[in-house]
């Protein structure tokens, strides 16, 4: 959005200020602590074949003490992060804590990407565009991978080919379950939907799309009528004469109830399109729009609050996780 800002002296001034502040912080924190380093401690796992078999005729393995593991056992190591505040030299000397290069590089990358995106505030630049291109690619790829492992395989392949999926990726499944051939239909629908990527025959994807739209229309209709219409009318049915705990008339509670009713009804009048907004109706609609404005004001305040929290979290990451300043 550099276009909104004239190239002038303030441009380089802001850049300058940011660089100086950033540089000073980095130098200071690197001289005082293990800035941007991630230390991990290894955790060994070992499993041994018990010789028993489960319902699927697969071997049952049990977790054993890693130090007692033999060559026939399966072992691997995972790593746990040690917070830098808890890191003591003795741990490093004994080899209990090691510097994790992959995570340290990852941390620096995270910080650099964060700065790349923030650089857009100073002006549009290649770094931002690069980061933006990466967001699109990585998140789309991620969503695809997750939906394949979490939905496509257990919910579709697992039903069509239970024995195959059990023996390959989901050993916890029941291998003897019969294949449910009815699931060929959703599989076919998916193929038809993907047909859209083909250069011709785009109409084929209308079948799954029609199914999508029909199902959505069906459940939304009920959901909205029940929760947003009937239940809302019920919730609006408040007595305008409110008595407190002692049974006495409570002025403020009654005032609030009256106001709630007036506001609801007048705002609904504003959304009537069959009557001209003139005379009494016009005045009521005017009151209605005032209450709508208060509603929007509240929404405005809450939205601002949310956006600032997001920024605070990013800065906490930069200053805390990366630079160890807090």
């Amino acid at each position: 959005m550099s276009d909104t800002d004239k190239p002038n002296k303030s441009n380089s001034l802001i850049w300058g200020i940011l660089f100086v502040i950033g540089g000073l912080m980095l130098v200071w924190s690197m001289s005082t602590s293990r800035t941007g380093q991630v230390w991990v401690t290894p955790e060994h796992h070992a499993f041994s074949d018990t010789g028993e078999v489960n319902d699927n005729n697969d071997a049952v393995w049990k977790s054993i003490d890693p130090t007692a593991a033999t060559t026939t056992d399966i072992t691997w190591t995972t790593y746990e992060v040690v917070p830098v505040s808890e890191l003591i030299p003795a741990m490093i000397d004994s080899g209990d804590a090691t510097l994790s290069w992959s995570r340290t590089i990852g941390l620096w990358l995270s910080a650099i990407f964060t700065l790349f995106i923030l650089s857009f505030l100073v002006g549009d630049n290649p770094a931002y565009k690069f980061a933006e291109a990466m967001v699109v690619g990585t998140s789309a790829g991620y969503v695809l991978v997750i939906s394949i492992w979490d939905v496509f395989i257990p919910n579709l392949l697992g039903k069509l080919f239970p024995a195959m999926v059990q023996g390959w990726s989901l050993p916890g499944m029941d291998a003897s379950a019969p294949a449910e051939l009815l699931y060929i239909i959703p599989a076919l629908l998916i193929v038809m939907l993907l047909w859209q990527l083909m250069p011709s025959g785009g109409w084929i994807s209308r079948w799954p799309i029609a199914f999508f739209i029909g199902v959505t229309a069906g459940y939304r209709m009920i959901g909205y009528v029940e929760a947003d219409l009937v239940a809302q009318i019920k919730a609006g049915m408040v007595p305008l004469w409110v008595t407190g705990d002692t049974g006495e008339f409570d002025f403020w509670l009654s005032f609030n109830a009256c106001l709630l009713t007036i506001a609801t009804l007048s705002a609904m009048v504003y959304f009537f399109f069959s009557i001209e907004h003139k005379g009494l109706v016009g005045k009521v609609a005017k009151v209605g729009i005032w209450f709508l404005m208060i509603t929007f004001g509240a929404s405005f305040g809450y939205t601002v609050m949310g956006r600032i929290a997001l920024l605070a979290q990013r800065l906490e990451f930069l200053f805390g996780d990366w630079l160890h300043l807090i």
Partner: protein
């Protein structure tokens, strides 16, 4: 001595466990597809939540009920299906915390028969004797879900109104809809752009063509394009989806044709930028700052980018008119635009402009639906106020109010049953 021993022994046996729950009643869950059974009991006297415990005797502190165990035995199956050995025995199906006296067993099968028993357990694990339900029960399917009867009636009313007015509009009946004030603001904005010799920017939101807000935006675009064609102003439409671009081109071309100036139509000014939200905004705001359009019109489905667009438009001093049904984005448009079509008003504007019987008929039907809602609401408020003012808890008003809340707007069924009336239950 013998008597004493007997007394001692009996006291010991009583004191070794909490008292069992009583009145175990098991029944098929009504209004369902035969997939569950309701289990109800009366709390054990050793339960501190039991009513009898609070006013009469305080339960023995050693044996206060911690939970209830619910056990089930399958006694008969359908179609000679085999009942597993585990299910032929009593087996625990759930554990309810102290104070709870109901449980719905949803792990039963339609048509099979089951027996139930419940006991109480204290913190040390001491179990009471079993309360056993008399006879077995089989879940059954009902043909109609009576608890939703009134919901069905409301659905019929609202749908009927929409269908009626859509049909009326299609058969050529003129349905009147009030003029939307914001539309004249759009004409003014286009007029001023013409005077200043600067273009008009029209943004259709970032949703795709299948979204109703985008379609409503296109209807408004056709009006704006027509006014622009008549005045001789330039109109610029960047889009976030390629399909929206195609539709916008068709719309604008038709408008120029209708205005009698097909030669001034420039398809290149309606162009697709990118699908990415923030990249799209960067492109549009870049254009705004370079070309300084005199009028910016935002009509469609917007998300967080609304704020950035409206801010830039304000900065370049353009007249801004917006319309969206996204409640969370409305505040930003209202605060920074000269005129905003709020929610339904946006759709009404689209219906008003298009003259499409489908849209106008729907709008009319919705208006009448709203009227029904307002009437029910007012009657309810009247009843509630009257009941509260009079303090009368068993008059006609009270029972009418309960009927409205529990039956019409609740899940208690079409009409009150006899025993419910007697109890005067208010939940």
């Amino acid at each position: 001595m013998g008597v004493l021993t007997i007394l001692y022994v009996s006291a010991l046996t009583v004191a070794q466990s909490p008292e069992p729950p009583t009145n175990l009643v098991v029944a098929d869950t009504p209004n369902d597809a035969g997939k569950s059974i309701d289990v109800n009991w009366t709390l054990s006297p050793s339960d501190i939540f039991a009513e009898s415990a609070s006013d009469t005797a305080i339960p023995d502190p050693e044996f206060i009920v911690a939970s209830y165990h619910i056990e089930r035995k399958t006694v008969a199956s359908t179609d000679s299906a085999i009942i597993s050995d585990e299910n032929k025995q009593w087996r625990q199906v759930s554990e309810s915390a102290a104070g709870e006296a109901t449980f719905t067993d949803r792990t039963v099968l339609l048509g099979w028969s089951y027996e139930y028993r419940v006991n109480s357990v204290d913190n040390q694990g001491n179990q009471s004797t079993w309360a056993i339900a008399t006879g077995s029960v089989a879940p059954s399917m009902q043909w109609f879900n009576g608890s939703k009867a009134w919901l069905a009636i409301f659905m019929f009313v609202f749908c009927g109104l929409v269908v009626f007015f859509v049909n009326a509009a299609r058969s050529g009946k003129k349905l009147w809809v009030r003029e939307i004030a914001g539309l004249s603001a759009i004409d003014e904005a286009v007029g001023r752009a013409t005077e200043m010799g600067r273009p008009v920017l029209f943004v259709l939101g970032i949703q795709d063509i299948n979204e109703i807000q985008t379609l409503a935006g296109l209807t408004v675009l056709s009006r704006v394009a027509r006014t622009a064609a008549e005045y001789g102003a330039q109109i610029e439409v960047p889009t976030c989806r390629s399909l929206v671009m195609a539709a916008a081109r068709e719309t604008v071309e038709a408008s120029y044709l209708a205005a009698g100036r097909p030669d001034s139509y420039q398809p290149d000014r309606i162009h697709y930028l990118t699908d990415e939200q923030f990249a799209f905004v960067a492109g549009v705001t870049g254009y705004m700052v370079r070309e300084k359009p005199a009028a910016c019109i935002y009509m469609g489905g917007f998300y967080a980018e609304s704020l950035i667009l409206a801010e830039t438009g304000n900065y370049i001093g353009a007249i801004q008119v917006a319309g969206t049904a996204m409640p969370s984005q409305l505040p930003f448009f209202v605060a920074s635009c000269d005129y905003t079509l709020i929610g339904e008003e946006f759709f009404a504007a689209s219906a008003y402009l298009s003259g499409d019987p489908l849209q106008i008929g729907s709008l009319k039907g919705q208006d009448w639906g709203k009227l029904v809602a307002v009437l029910v609401l007012i009657i309810g408020i009247f009843l509630a106020t009257f009941v509260s003012k009079s303090g009368n808890q068993d008059g006609t008003f009270k029972s009418s109010l309960d009927f409205m809340k529990d039956h019409m707007l609740g899940n208690a069924g079409l009409y009150p049953t006899i025993d419910e009336n007697l109890e005067g239950d208010d939940s």
